[in-house]
C-alpha cells in the first residue's frame, strides 16, 4: 500500500477521531464523514483514499468506541503509524482489520505530505521522498494469527465451528 502522510501529535483521543455527537449510529459510511473532525475539521476533504495517518505517542486514547478505527478505515485511510497506541484502540484495530504499525523513528522523521509505502507482511515502512526504510515492531504470534484470519470474528468463527 502507498499513500500520502497526514501527521498528528501525541495523545490523539477517540473524541477527536470520532466525536460522540456522531455515535448515535455505527454505520461505517456515516462515521467516515466525520473522521478526525475535532483534530482537523477539514481532514476528510483534504485526504485521499489510501492515505496514511501518522500519530505520536498514545494514539487512540480514551473511549473504547470501535467507531474510531471504523471511521478511519471507512474514510479510506490505508494504515496508521504511531510511536505508540492506546491499548483498546490497538485491540480494536486488529479486531476490525485496520492496519496499524508502531515505529518511533518513522513517526518522528517522516514529514507531513510525504509519500510512503508499507509492506504489511514484513512491517517495512518506506519514505518515498527520502528513500529511508523503517521497520515496525512485529506483532506477537497470536495477534498475527488474528490478523491472518482477517480479524477476530473470522478467527472465532473458525474455532466456534470445531
Amino acid at each position: 500500500m502507498k499513500g500520502k502522510v497526514h501527521k498528528f501529535g501525541d495523545n490523539v483521543d477517540t473524541d477527536q477521531i470520532i466525536p460522540a455527537r456522531y455515535l448515535n449510529t455505527s454505520d461505517p459510511e456515516e462515521l467516515a464523514k466525520y473522521c478526525m473532525e475535532d483534530a482537523d475539521p477539514d481532514f476528510v476533504n483534504r485526504m485521499n483514499k489510501g492515505d496514511i495517518i501518522i500519530g505520536g505517542e498514545n494514539f487512540g486514547c480514551g473511549s473504547s468506541r470501535e467507531h474510531a478505527p471504523i471511521s478511519i478505515k471507512a474514510a479510506g485511510i490505508s494504515a496508521v503509524i504511531a510511536k505508540s497506541f492506546a491499548r483498546i484502540f490497538y485491540r480494536n484495530s486488529i479486531n476490525i482489520g485496520l492496519p496499524i504499525l508502531e515505529s518511533c523513528e518513522a513517526a518522528e522523521e517522516i514529514q507531513e505530505g510525504s509519500e510512503v509505502s508499507i509492506d504489511l507482511t514484513s512491517g517495512e515502512i518506506k519514505d518515498l521522498s527520502s528513500g529511508k526504510i523503517y521497520k515496525a515492531q512485529p506483532f506477537p504470534n497470536f495477534m498475527q494469527k488474528i490478523i491472518d484470519a482477517d480479524g477476530l470474528i473470522s478467527y472465532v468463527k473458525r474455532k466456534f465451528k470445531k
Binding site: 466525536p19 460522540a20 448515535n24 470501535e66 491499548r87 479486531n95 506477537p140
Partner: protein, 413 residues
C-alpha cells in the same frame, strides 16, 4: 513465582497456576458488558459468528445509558436493537430506563460483579470494578461479540505498577483527587498496557464509593486495569473470591504518595493529566457545572454536593446539573432530602444518564463555554463544541465552583 492479585485472578480464569507479564492467555469471563453505543456494533459482529445462543444468559449485562432516555431517533433505534437482541437470546440483565443506571455504578450496586471476578466491558471505564478486587478491563465491540459467543477473551498479562498511598487524607480531598494527582504524576500513558495496583494505609480511609472513583480513572493513565486488594471495607458478595498480592510480588515500578500533602486537584483542558492544585486555579470563570457520571455519581457524591450547596444558590451565570448515577442513588438522595438542597440551589436534577459527560445530551456546551465537571475526561470537544473547555474536579470543588461562578475551594463559601 510470587504473584500479584491481578496475576492470580488472570491465572485462575485461564486454568493456570500462575501467569507472567507478557504471556498471552485465553481467559473465561464472569461478566460481559455493553452499552447503547458499543452494543449495536457488537450485535452485528455476533450475528456473523453464526452462534445460535449466547454463552450464558446471566453473564451478559446490557445497559443503555449513554444517550438514554433516547435523545433522538437514531439513538432510539440503537436501543431498540439492543432490546430485541436481549429478548431474542433471553439475556437476563438488560436494564430499561426506570430500572437502569450508569453501567459502572449499576453493576456493583446489583452485585452483578464481585471481588475475584474477571469482567470485560465494551466501555473504557469498565476498569471501575477493580475497586472490588476484581480484574476488569475495557474492550471494543468485536471483543464483546466474541465473548458473548464463547465466554472467553484473549488477554496479554500486563506488567504491574504499585501505588502506595500513605498519610491522613485532608478535609475536602476525595478519591477523585488521589487519582487525578496520580494521573498528573505519571501522565495519560504512564500506565499504558499495565496494571495500577492501589495500596497503602491511606486507602483504608476511603469508602467503596471513593474507591470506585479511583479505579474508574485508571484508563485515563492508559492502564489495562486498576485494582484494590480487598480489605474489611470491600463489598464481598456471595460467591466472591478474595485474592491478595504476595508480599514479594514483582512490580515494574512502585510510586509512594503522601496524601496528607495533596490539595483538591483540577485537571485543566485538554488532558486528565494536566492537573493543578485548586489553589492555583483561580479566576477561571465558568458557565456550567456537572456533578455525576460513572466517576462521581454515587450516594456519597450526592451527600458531598449537598453538604457544600446547603444554604447556597448557584451563581446566576452558572447552569448546575446534578445526575444521580442510578435509580437507587436517586431514591436515596430524595429520601435524605438532598433534592431539596439541590433545587434550592437552582440545580437541574436529572434521571440517570451518561449524557453530558461525553457531550451526548442533557448539558452540551456551546462554543467558548467552560465547565467544571466531576466526570473523567476533558478532551477537546468532550462535552460539546470543539472550542469548549472542561475542567475536571472532585464533587466538593464542583459544587463550590457552581456557587462562586468560577473555579474555587469549598472553604471560600
Amino acid at each position: 513465582m510470587p504473584q500479584t492479585i491481578t496475576q492470580k485472578i488472570l491465572a485462575a480464569h485461564a486454568g493456570k497456576k500462575e501467569v507472567q507479564p507478557g504471556e498471552l492467555i485465553q481467559a473465561k469471563v464472569d461478566m460481559v458488558l455493553g452499552n447503547d453505543v458499543t452494543t449495536p456494533p457488537a450485535i452485528k459482529e455476533f450475528n456473523k459468528i453464526g452462534a445460535t445462543k449466547v454463552f450464558n444468559k446471566n453473564k451478559i449485562a446490557l445497559v443503555p445509558d449513554h444517550f438514554t432516555p433516547n435523545k433522538d431517533i437514531k439513538s432510539a433505534e440503537q436501543v431498540k436493537m439492543m432490546r430485541e437482541f436481549a429478548k431474542k437470546y433471553g439475556i437476563v440483565n438488560f436494564f430499561e430506563i426506570g430500572c437502569m443506571g450508569i453501567e459502572h455504578a449499576l453493576l456493583p450496586e446489583l452485585e452483578l460483579v464481585k471481588c475475584g471476578d474477571l469482567i470485560i466491558g465494551a466501555d473504557s471505564h469498565t476498569c471501575t470494578y477493580g475497586a472490588l478486587g476484581a480484574f476488569s478491563t475495557g474492550v471494543g465491540s468485536t471483543d464483546m461479540a466474541a465473548a458473548m459467543a464463547t465466554g472467553e477473551v484473549w488477554l496479554k498479562v500486563p506488567e504491574q505498577i504499585k501505588f502506595v498511598y500513605s498519610g491522613k487524607i485532608p478535609k475536602w480531598v476525595e478519591g477523585k483527587d488521589l487519582i487525578l494527582y496520580t494521573i498528573g504524576l505519571i501522565g495519560v500513558d504512564g500506565a499504558l498496557y499495565k496494571t495500577m495496583e492501589f495500596t497503602g494505609d491511606a486507602l483504608k480511609q476511603l469508602s467503596m464509593d471513593a474507591r470506585f472513583t479511583m479505579a474508574n480513572m485508571a484508563i485515563e493513565a492508559g492502564a489495562k486495569n486498576g485494582i484494590f486488594v480487598p480489605d474489611a471495607k470491600t463489598t464481598k458478595s456471595r460467591g466472591a473470591k478474595v485474592y491478595k498480592s504476595d508480599p514479594d510480588a514483582i512490580y515494574n515500578n512502585v510510586y509512594t504518595i503522601d496524601v496528607s500533602k495533596i490539595e483538591p486537584q483540577i485537571a485543566f483542558p485538554h488532558l486528565p493529566s494536566n492537573t493543578k492544585p485548586v489553589s492555583k486555579a483561580k479566576n477561571v470563570k465558568i458557565d456550567q457545572v456537572v456533578i455525576g457520571s460513572c466517576t462521581n455519581g454515587r450516594i456519597e457524591d450526592m451527600r458531598i454536593a449537598a453538604k457544600v450547596l446547603k444554604g447556597h444558590k448557584a451563581d446566576k451565570n452558572v447552569r448546575l446539573i446534578i445526575i444521580p448515577a442510578t435509580q437507587k442513588v436517586y431514591r436515596q438522595a430524595m429520601k435524605e432530602g438532598l433534592f431539596d438542597i439541590f433545587l434550592n440551589a437552582n440545580a437541574a436534577v436529572s434521571t440517570p444518564t451518561c449524557g453530558p459527560c461525553l457531550g451526548g445530551h442533557m448539558g452540551v456546551l456551546a462554543e467558548g463555554e467552560k465547565a467544571v465537571a466531576t466526570t473523567n475526561r476533558n478532551f477537546i470537544g468532550r462535552m460539546g463544541h470543539p472550542k469548549s473547555e472542561v475542567y475536571l474536579s472532585n464533587v466538593a470543588v464542583a459544587a463550590a465552583s457552581a456557587v462562586l461562578g468560577r473555579i474555587g475551594h469549598p472553604e471560600e463559601l
